[in-house]
Every structure is written in C-alpha cells, then in structure tokens.
Symmetry: C2
Subunit: 360 residues, 2 copies
Amino acid sequence: MDDRVEAHAETLVDWSARVEEGDDVVLSVGPDAHELAVAVAGKLGERGANLLCTYASGEISRAYLRASEGEFDADPDFELAMLERADAYLSLGGGRNSAATADVPEETRNAYDRARQGIREARLDTDWVKTLHPTRSLAQRAGMAYEEYQDFLYSAVLRDWESLAAEQERLKELLEDTEEVRIANEGTDLTLDVSGRFAVNSCASVAYDSHNLPSGEVFTAPRACEGHVTFDVPMTVNDRRVKDVYLEFEDGEVVDFAAAQGESAIEGVLDTDDGARRLGELGIGMNRGIDRPTDTILFDEKMAGTVHLALGRAYDDCIPEGETGNQSATHTDLITTMGQGSRLELDGEAVQENGTFRWE
Amino acid sequence: MDDRVEAHAETLVDWSARVEEGDDVVLSVGPDAHELAVAVAGKLGERGANLLCTYASGEISRAYLRASEGEFDADPDFELAMLERADAYLSLGGGRNSAATADVPEETRNAYDRARQGIREARLDTDWVKTLHPTRSLAQRAGMAYEEYQDFLYSAVLRDWESLAAEQERLKELLEDTEEVRIANEGTDLTLDVSGRFAVNSCASVAYDSHNLPSGEVFTAPRACEGHVTFDVPMTVNDRRVKDVYLEFEDGEVVDFAAAQGESAIEGVLDTDDGARRLGELGIGMNRGIDRPTDTILFDEKMAGTVHLALGRAYDDCIPEGETGNQSATHTDLITTMGQGSRLELDGEAVQENGTFRWE
C-alpha cells in the first residue's frame, strides 16, 4: 500500500477525528475509497475503537431515488438510532462518476433530504469528518492525470497541521479584533463589516470544530458589505459551470451581478430566498498544499492565496450568543485569487499583499 | 444491466425477503456486489422501503482484526441498535478474494465473534437473507470462466420457486411421516432414525424460514444413525480441502473415519466436542439449477441429486417442543452424490432411485 494512504488514515483518525479506545465509529466508504477504508480500519483496530462500515454509492442512491414515488418516511429509526449512538462519523468520499446522480429529479432529492433532517443532525452531532480518497473520477474532474492528482491530494492532506493551526490561530485573533475587512484586487473592491463576529480556525480537526480533511482556512460571518467583487476561480454551482462571477453589493445586498459563464446558475442561487442575496461567510484560504483549483469545493476554498465568500447561510460558530447570522437555504461559495497587486486589509492595515501574508 | 441481475434483485426482495412498504432494510454490500446492490436498491425504492447500506469487506475486517489487540467491546450499541430496529437484512456477498482474511489469527476471529453474539442474534431476528453476486473470485473458486459462472449462478437463483416449494412440501410431509431413512449408494449404507422430527421446506424465502438464496433442499435432524457413508463431493472444511470423506457410525456416533485428502481437518471437526461426533442434519438437495459442486456451501448442499449430512449442531426448527437436538459448536456439512445405483428409502420404500425422485 502507498505509504501516503497510511499517513492519510492516521491523520484522519488521530489529528482530525481524535478517535479514542471504545469509540463507536461509523466509516462511510465510497465505492472507490476502499483502499483508504482498509488503512483507516487498521488504525481504528489499533486504537481499540468499534467499527461499522456503511457504503455510500451515488449509483445506489440514484437507483433508489428514481424508483421511489418521491415520498419518504421521516428519519427511519434504524439509521437514526445508529447515528445517535455513534461517537464519530468518518466519510471517505470516492465515487466512480461525480455525475452519478445527475438524472435524479431535484424534487425527489429535496424530498429525501427534507425527510432526513433528524438523521443529518444526529450525524453532525458526532465527531464527523469528511475526506476524499484520490479516484480517477476526481482526477478527471480536476483535469489531471491520476498520479498527478494523487500527488496533489496528498500534498493537500498531509500537512504539518499543528503548525498550520498555530498560523491560523494568529489570523483568527486578528480577524476577531477587526471591524472592517477590505478585499482589493483586480475587479474587486469590497469592504465587509465583521465587527463582533467570531472567526473559526479551520484546521481539519474536530478539536477545532473543523470537519474537513483537508481544511486550512479561517472564516467568519460578515454583518454587511459594500462594493464589488469578481470571482476568477471557475466553479460548479448546482451542477453548472460558472466563470468570472461578478457581484455588486449595496447595504449588504446584491444589487447587480454578471458572469462570463453560468449567469443563470448564479441567478438561481440569488433567487433562493432573501438571505441568498447577502453574504454568510468570508473565508481566507491557508492551505499551501492546494496550488490550483480542481472543481471540488473541499479543496478549492482552502487554496492558499485565495479568499472566498458565500452567498446565503452563515455558520453558527461565527455568531455571538443572542445574535442571528444570515439565514438561507443556500450556502454557495465563490472564490477569488489574491494575485499580484491584491491587498487584504484589516481596519486599513494590509495583512496580506500580492497573496502573501505579512508574516510569510 | 444484465436482465438477470434485475431478476435476481426482484427474487431477493419479493420472494425471499418479502419486503413491504415502510420496512427498514439493511443492505450489506460486498466489494464486488455493487451491481446487484444497485438493482436491489431500485426494487426497495419501488416498494417504498427504507434503505441503509453497509459495506462488508474481508480486507477491511482483516486490517481491523489484525491491528487490534484481540479484545473487543461486547455488542457495540450503535450497531446493535440499528439491527434491533431493522425489519430485514439482505447480505449481498461478493468479494474479490475468498481468502481475504486467511492470515487473521483464529483466536482473534473467535474473540471478535464471541463479543458480537447479541449483534448476531439481532440480525438473525430480522427477515435476513444471504445471497451471492457472481464475482471473478467465486468463479475462480469454482474453477469456472466468469461468464460460465454467471450462467451457473443465475440458473441456481432464478428458479420457479413457487413450484419447487410445492415439490419440496411433498418431500417434507413424507419425511415427517417417516421413522427410518436409508441412504444406499456406492460406499454408503446408512440408516437414520428421524422419527418425530420436523422437516424444513427450505425454498429461499423467509415465509418458509429459509434464509439462503438460492436454496432448494429439505432437511431434518436425525435422532441416531447406523452404518457407513462416503462423501464424494470435494469440500473446503475450516480452510482445508477434503475429498472422499468416509464415516462409520455405531449407535449414532462416529467410530471410524478416513479421507483421501484432508483427514486431519475431519479429525479436527470430530474433536470439537461430544456433539461433533453425531449428526445434526440430514439434507436432501432439490435445486436442479445447481448441476455441479463449486466449493461454495451455499450452492453445493442444494445440488439436486445429492444428500448431505452435517456433523454437529441440529437446527431448532427440526426439533419438537420439549426435546433437544444435537448440541455442538460445529455444524460441518458433507455431501454425497446420489448417482447410478443409489437409493433413498423412507421406511423401506424408495422415494429416489439413481438420483431421480419417483414423481420426476
């Protein structure tokens, strides 16, 4: 077995999920994540945890959902009971076709999701971590050769997390002392009011309330914003490609938008509900192992030298007790590269110039 | 998708497991049983059942068990709770290597099994069914080409179960009216006292207390036996090949034994405990779709024109209230072909000659 698979498993079990002896661990295995699952099972055996493997296949979901009549029992008891008793839930993504559920009617998918709210909450109540095994499907999506993609993925996952956590803690503290963030870049001049909001040091460990491996970002929830922004990183939004999305804000709300490609997808997001026209997140990518976009949000938004903003729902972790963050059914991330000439300012002072932090 | 995969799924869901709307169904998927799982998921969606997929991989089990220190928590709550609430448990076997767990120490495996008795019982309390998807690993074990093995497997699974059930019911009733069964064959002359014992019509449906797909046998639990028997069908017993096993019985107990190959494996079985030297089962194969042994007990023991006997534990379904069947930690099946010159007699009357029932 590739040593990196073993190292990935160890990072997941020890750094990310903090699995301990006697923990009840659900391991959700994608069809092509088998090899990682074998490595993780070995680590769980070593730690003395209890293991139950579930199988997460898009093709199985598609067959089930398409054959159904579109009505679903609420939170089936056998699955809910399992998740309510689980200590950790490790999701090893890795399918064979990222479009495996493309022809499932959206209303069926939504009805299924709505019926499973309790199950989702029970899962989110565990020490859950989502990671990806490098598959040919993901390589194809990234436009990369398989070995090239493996190198890319492990470079993103196998970081010195301890030291990245320390660096991110620094930015988190700075952000929490900040009233106004300014993002200045080609096609972008946006100021965001982040006063009194918490920032999250997202460094791929449940000990930091961070549930993605890899992670590597610091994020907060702006109260309001003013100005315009261009997102140069190509993305897939609701199954459609978008490029060079442009948003203009007044009083915290989108008042104009455009895109070089996929404008209607952005329009669809903005029309979701009132909260979809406001920002729920400002995130700053810090993972230097991620050096290019790969059309997978788990990686793209953590890319060092990028900033992302999300239209829609804010994360509770950023909101002080007694306040309410932005509410919406959507949370759509869009990413801009902080290249030559860019400035990220905290209360007028540059914390990052040309994509490089002042302490780098 | 091969129409036969769809037909297999439909047989499993409707004939075997009798799944109904609202049932909570655990689908245990082997690594190479994916295609069958997709078809089964479609049927479950159609029926309005709830679906939870688990992943049953020998390689994952091996990694977990070998890494562990050999001690296991008793019946982990999250898995027990899931199974206690499940209505059905469908096991789709289909690995990539039937020797995937060959180097797991036996004491580790046994310790794991012992710790999971409650989980096993909860699973057996559901409408459970075990079936196999045709894989290259199973084809190899059978010594068959892949397409040849597919033909073989579907011929065994896709029967007219309704009519086989009726035929087997006839033999079941005859057996329950019988005091003494005689098996006469080349190298075999054995009489078995089956008086007052129930026979089971095992026709691949939970409605008949039959949990294998395919099935196709009628079995009972002899009280005693006298004579000798030669088992010409090659088998794997505790991971060792055995051939031409010969057993001699006096007063229901093995008094002499031999084998052309694997004699020590048979000795190991006989030395398990006192009950291992007595018979727990007499089974009569009735599945005409199974025309040759494939080194997989799920199929071999149901082969039409064969009779099998098991050393060790008797099934409770055969034992009248208030009586106790043979007790043992083992239940080891051995099979003999009823070829030219063979007779199967019930109270002195031939019910089968030369492998053909009198009603065929």
